[in-house]
């Protein structure tokens, strides 16, 4: 009886993973399928669709834009999250409910509303869509995630190490450079990477903020979907997935960062 229950449990868990990851694996499999249509029965392995991406410069310029936006916004978000996390934990108390709600607020506001709000706000300065607005919303979006990973790091950080550094005559800057930052580095790297990936793949938050010159990869891909769906798009998506997957594995393996604590 117990064995039956255990077997049922594992079957259920496997089914959940198939359901959650299945669509991604399916797209990846179709991207190397030599059949002409997407989707179709497996006809053989080919890298033709990856080669076909080369004929679409719009994907490359959008990928570059997305990279720039993700890099700048993640760097700002991680830095802001570090100082905020420091302030929250150094005080050694549980932060107030108001403060933690405020810092998590970008998660509670629908992304499309954030995009709309930035469109109107930037419009007040005659800015509207473009790089500046995109970087601003992506920073806001990344902040709670970066903060979460930074706080995981501070949970294990012993603040008396800082006191030891002060007692040896080091100032605040030296202490941060020599003690605090090196010990939190894995979490800062993880926070940056996590923000970077989430920014790179995000669509709704950029929806109203792109223009002819500045557009992000997810928006170009979805514009492409509106006209046709072909295996090349699966190839583009798979490239993104593989890069994100490798980054996640590296984080898990070498930095020992767990997203759940």
């Amino acid at each position: 009886m117990k064995r039956v229950a255990t077997a049922a449990g594992w079957t259920y868990l496997t089914a959940v993973y198939v359901f959650v990851i299945g669509p991604v694996v399916f797209v990846a499999a179709e991207s190397v399928n030599s059949a002409k249509a997407f989707p179709s029965a497996f006809a053989g392995v080919t890298l033709h669709w990856y080669q076909a991406i080369l004929a679409h410069p719009e994907f490359f310029s959008a990928a570059w834009t997305s990279t720039l936006i993700a890099a700048v916004s993640s760097a700002v978000a991680t830095a802001a999250a570090f100082t905020a996390g420091y302030a929250l934990r150094r005080r050694g108390r549980q932060e107030s409910a108001v403060l933690s709600t405020l810092l998590a607020s970008p998660l509670l506001v629908p992304q499309i509303v954030i995009s709309l709000a930035m469109l109107q706000f930037a419009g007040l300065f005659g800015l509207g869509a473009g790089f500046a607005s995109l970087i601003a919303v992506h920073t806001i979006h990344g902040l709670p995630f970066a903060l979460r990973l930074v706080l995981t790091g501070f949970a294990r950080f012993n603040f008396s190490l800082e006191d030891a550094s002060f007692s040896l005559g080091a100032g605040r800057v030296t202490t941060w450079r020599e003690v605090t930052l090196p010990l939190l580095r894995p979490n800062l790297i993880a926070g940056f990477t996590f923000c970077f990936i989430l920014s790179f793949v995000n669509l709704p938050i950029s929806l109203f903020l792109t223009d002819a010159q500045t557009t992000t990869l997810p928006l170009v891909m979805f514009a492409y979907i509106e006209s046709r769906i072909d295996p090349m798009l699966a190839a583009v998506a798979t490239v993104v997935v593989v890069v994100a997957g490798i980054a996640t594995l590296v984080l898990e393996r070498y930095l020992k960062i767990r997203l759940v604590e």
Partner: protein, 311 residues
Amino acid sequence: MPDGIEAGDVVVADVPWASHASPGGVDSRIGPLKGRRDVTRLLLAPSLVLLGLFLGIPLIVVLVASFQPNVLIPRDSAGLYNYTYLIAQPYYAKILVRTIWLGIVATIVTLPLGYAAALLLPRLRGRLANMAVMGLTFPILAGPLVVILGWMALLPAHGPLFGPLVRWGLIAPPRIIGTDTAVLISLVQFMLPFAILTLYTTIKQIPHELYEAAESLGAGPLREFRDVTLPLSMPGVLSTSIILFSLGASSYISPHYLGGAANLTLTTLIGQFILATYNNALASAAAILLLLIMVLCMVGLVLLFRPLIRP
């Protein structure tokens, strides 16, 4: 440390290394020092300024815009007419109800599915456990595009899922793409990792001694679940349902790409107002309504679950 020193007392002069103690860098055993603590608190400023400038003020701009006249409703002064218009017109009222309905149904479906998985996950050990958690973050990090692309390919009547069944005459060709079913399937798939991760964290934190105590008192697995796991995981269930409803009601990609143009939600309606009909005021009113719905549902969920949470 001599007795009688209270938090806030200035004891700097008593401590030999105090002159080196930079702002905030005081021994936590003495407690925060007056005047110094504030400098540490200043480190919150970058985040709070970013949030205020790029989220708080912009949202106020949206709120103000939602009271303005527009092409559809020409008026001379500001007022609540955009809201009454969206609520009174059956076309828009239906969209409002649909948004709430999708959020609720997706939450009700996802919650038990996620709970069951979160109960099973702690039994995994070592590297497998790590991989299992990473596996759940994988679709989140892979991004919505690849997932939607997957469902667009999998769900058509003659696609790889239903095609064979249709060909063997087992089922009539189902119409799923462009319906609420497609939206719900992809929403549940998208929300499930969030549910499992949040509930897993809660369930893992329940002290093991409680299970040992329950067992020594003769409780079976079912009794253990009913009297230990379930009540102690209620706070997690509450926060999970809040997260799930927010994700469901604020999702743009699933309803837009799988629900079709005839099945709008508030998010896709905002998209239409801005990208197709250029109606800023109505888009703003719809955005504020969406925020209101989310807040009301959160309050509702808290009231619903509070009696179940033990202090």
